[in-house]
């Protein structure tokens, strides 16, 4: 039993790292643009399918393929922002953007269905089938590689946010958009690039997700509901909060699965409900200022 629990904890931490990457994208988008990108889940699946096509059709290694899929997803993000998000203004903007991203998710899902069909697929490579022995159990290499990839990318995002001029303007926009505009920051450009970066991470997240899970066009719903729970629990707009909460929640889910596999996912929503009863801003959230 203890070995199974230990295995579940290791699993949870490694998978949590990948979720952290996806959640950081989502929470960054929220912080800068004040919108929740419902399409994030299906974009992860789109990223996974891109990797799938590259590896099956062009025989490009999954990790090398990221050099193509990450810029591609970045471009898709910028286009979504330019075509739809940018145009929404006014008092109903919050709910409108949510619905618009939901509609975008539906369209992408429909297109993926049309192209790839309803069958579940998995990404495969040599490292998805071979394992390494740790603490007496076997762990596929992809979990470890995926975790390292997620760590590297999250570190890169941190460096971008805290060590560059662009990062400073992103953080300024997150704190106060009007003030950022006043000191000469091109807020629209920052918003477009942030949306692009937030979507670009789904390419990497999707690749690892697709290599560790069977997926089809419908899998986005399961993903987005977990990601939403994570970023709200972590406090909307808090990058650190998203990191800690992803690893924590995925570990809890993984441990619960040992005993109650069918109820494990409920842990997410139940935690969300309970935490918000006590602390409406989440674990690391700032108190929301009065919104007009």
């Amino acid at each position: 039993m203890t070995r199974e629990v230990l295995e579940a904890i290791v699993d949870g931490i490694l998978v949590g790292g990948v979720y952290a990457l996806m959640a950081v994208g989502l929470t960054l988008i929220f912080g800068v643009l004040d919108i929740i990108n419902i399409a994030q889940g299906v974009l992860v699946i789109l990223g996974a399918y891109l990797s799938y096509s590259l590896s099956t059709k062009a025989h490009i290694d999954l990790f090398v393929g990221l050099l193509i899929t990450i810029p591609a997803m970045f471009a898709i993000g910028v286009v979504i922002h330019w075509a739809f998000i940018r145009r929404l203004r006014g008092t109903e903007r919050t709910s409108m953007t949510l619905l618009v991203t939901y509609a975008v998710a539906l369209i992408i899902e429909g297109i993926l269905y049309k192209i790839y069909g309803a069958n579940n697929v998995t990404l495969s490579a040599s490292y998805t089938t071979t394992s390494i022995r740790v603490f007496g159990f076997y762990l596929p290499w992809i979990y470890i590689y995926g975790f390292i990839l997620a760590l590297v990318l999250v570190a890169l995002i941190y460096a971008l946010l805290y060590r560059t001029k662009f990062g400073r303007s992103v953080r300024a926009t997150m704190q106060d958009e009007t003030a950022a505009r006043l000191v000469g920051i091109d807020v629209n450009r920052v918003a477009a690039l942030t949306f692009g970066i937030g979507v670009a991470v789904t390419a990497a997240g999707g690749m690892v997700y697709g290599a560790t899970n069977a997926f089809n066009a419908n899998s986005g719903y399961d993903l987005i509901s977990r990601l939403l729970a994570i970023i709200i629990l972590g406090g909307l707009g808090s990058v650190g909060g998203a990191l800690v909460t992803s690893v924590f929640m995925l570990t809890v889910e993984s441990v619960v699965t040992v005993w109650y596999p069918t109820w494990a996912i409920v842990v997410f929503y139940a935690a969300l409900v309970i935490v918000l009863l006590v602390r409406p801003t989440g674990f690391f959230g700032r108190k929301e200022v009065r919104a007009q």
């Binding site: 618009v100 509609a103 539906l106 899902e109 297109i111 709200i232 996912i265 997410f268 929503y269």
Partner: protein, 349 residues
């Protein structure tokens, strides 16, 4: 429009709606009518809460599925068959309202994005419960009790039941809109903190509207369950259902009474028709189209057909006449007076 003309139009509309299954007897056409009425009810019920308060709920399927499951479980466990099952509809309404209370107490503590996400989370909890418990029939769901109705006119009684639900919900929406309660709801939509400051008991008011909306949705969910003969976790608690309701309300005119009705009457027959066409089969193209209609609506008709159409009519009727609005409103005096040459500004120079 004069009151007389309005009254005549309304009576004509009621006559058409009531006579519909008598004139059209083809079951594949009356099917459209039944489902359209079901969605008119559901969209109006959504609008009672979300349209009035501005809290966008993406968890209405919680009530829809709860209504369907309540009916299914009650009929199965109490061995109720035949037409008497419809006596269970008030029970479904009660369950809908009862579910809305804890749901609302949790979700209505937070606003904006967080509220929407909580409604989605609660929705998934319900879907998972329906799948995982044994008394709900698990992933295969429940079958409805057998109704001994002739197949040729099977849809007609359903049409009238759904029509009665729709009329009832619209009447409730109308009464709420004209009442103090409705004003309080709309005050919350405009500025919740200010409304509280002026003495609106925000939580109580929001929760009441949520419960009313939940009860109406649960009733129509139960009717829908009979109509399609079964409910599964995926169909009773369907994420697309929530989105469809919101789309209907936004397309017609969010917050008005006629808006969701019009939106439902456009969207539901359209999706049914698209799904019945062989070249659109498989459901994915209708999904793409639904998303595309949604995007077009939000981007180009952000206030819906009825408000935008109303503005257009007003613009056409007042064409050529000087605008009267700027004279009675506050703000910069020069705004909107371009069509009438201002004398005072000339004199001051």
């Amino acid at each position: 429009m004069t009151p007389l003309l309005k009254g005549t139009a309304l009576i004509a509309l009621i006559a058409i709606v009531v006579a519909f299954p008598q004139v059209v007897t083809n079951p594949s056409v009356t099917n459209y009518g039944v489902l359209a009425m079901i969605f008119v009810t559901a969209a109006s019920a959504w609008n009672i809460f979300s349209g009035n308060t501005g809290y966008i709920s993406l968890g209405q399927a919680v009530f829809y599925g709860s209504g369907a499951y309540t009916m299914g479980i009650a009929a199965r466990d109490w061995n109720i068959t035949g037409d008497t099952v419809f006596a269970l509809l008030p029970l479904c309404a009660a369950v809908g309202a009862l579910v809305a209370v804890p749901f609302g107490l949790i979700a209505l503590r937070v606003r904006r994005h967080t509220f929407i996400v909580i409604t989605i989370a609660v929705f998934f909890i319900f879907q998972l419960m329906a799948t995982n418990f044994s008394f709900t029939g698990g992933s295969s769901g429940l079958d409805s009790p057998f109704l001994n109705w002739p197949a040729a006119s099977y849809n007609t009684p359903f049409y009238y039941i759904a029509l009665a639900c729709a009329a009832g919900t619209i009447a409730i929406a109308w009464l709420i809109r004209r009442s103090r309660f409705g004003l309080q709801l709309r005050a919350i939509r405009d500025d919740e903190d200010r409304a509280r400051g002026l003495g609106v008991k925000a939580m109580r008011v929001k929760l009441s509207a949520f419960a009313i909306s939940g009860a109406a949705t649960a009733v129509i969910g139960a009717v829908w369950f009979f109509y399609i003969n079964q409910v599964e976790p995926q169909t009773g608690f369907d994420p697309l259902f929530d989105l469809t309701l919101v789309l209907m309300a936004f397309l017609g005119g969010y917050g008005s009474i006629t808006g969701p009705v019009l939106g439902a009457l456009i969207i539901e027959p359209l999706t049914l028709w698209l799904n019945s066409q062989p070249q659109f089969s498989g459901g994915s193209l209708s999904e793409i189209l639904l998303g595309a209609v949604f995007l077009v609506t939000v981007l180009f008709l952000p206030r819906g057909i009825i408000p935008t159409g109303g503005e257009l009519i007003t613009k056409l009727r007042t064409r050529g006449r000087p605008a009267v609005i700027p004279a009675t409103t506050f703000g910069p005096p020069a705004a909107g007076t371009a069509s009438t040459p201002s004398v005072s500004s000339g004199g001051a120079r």
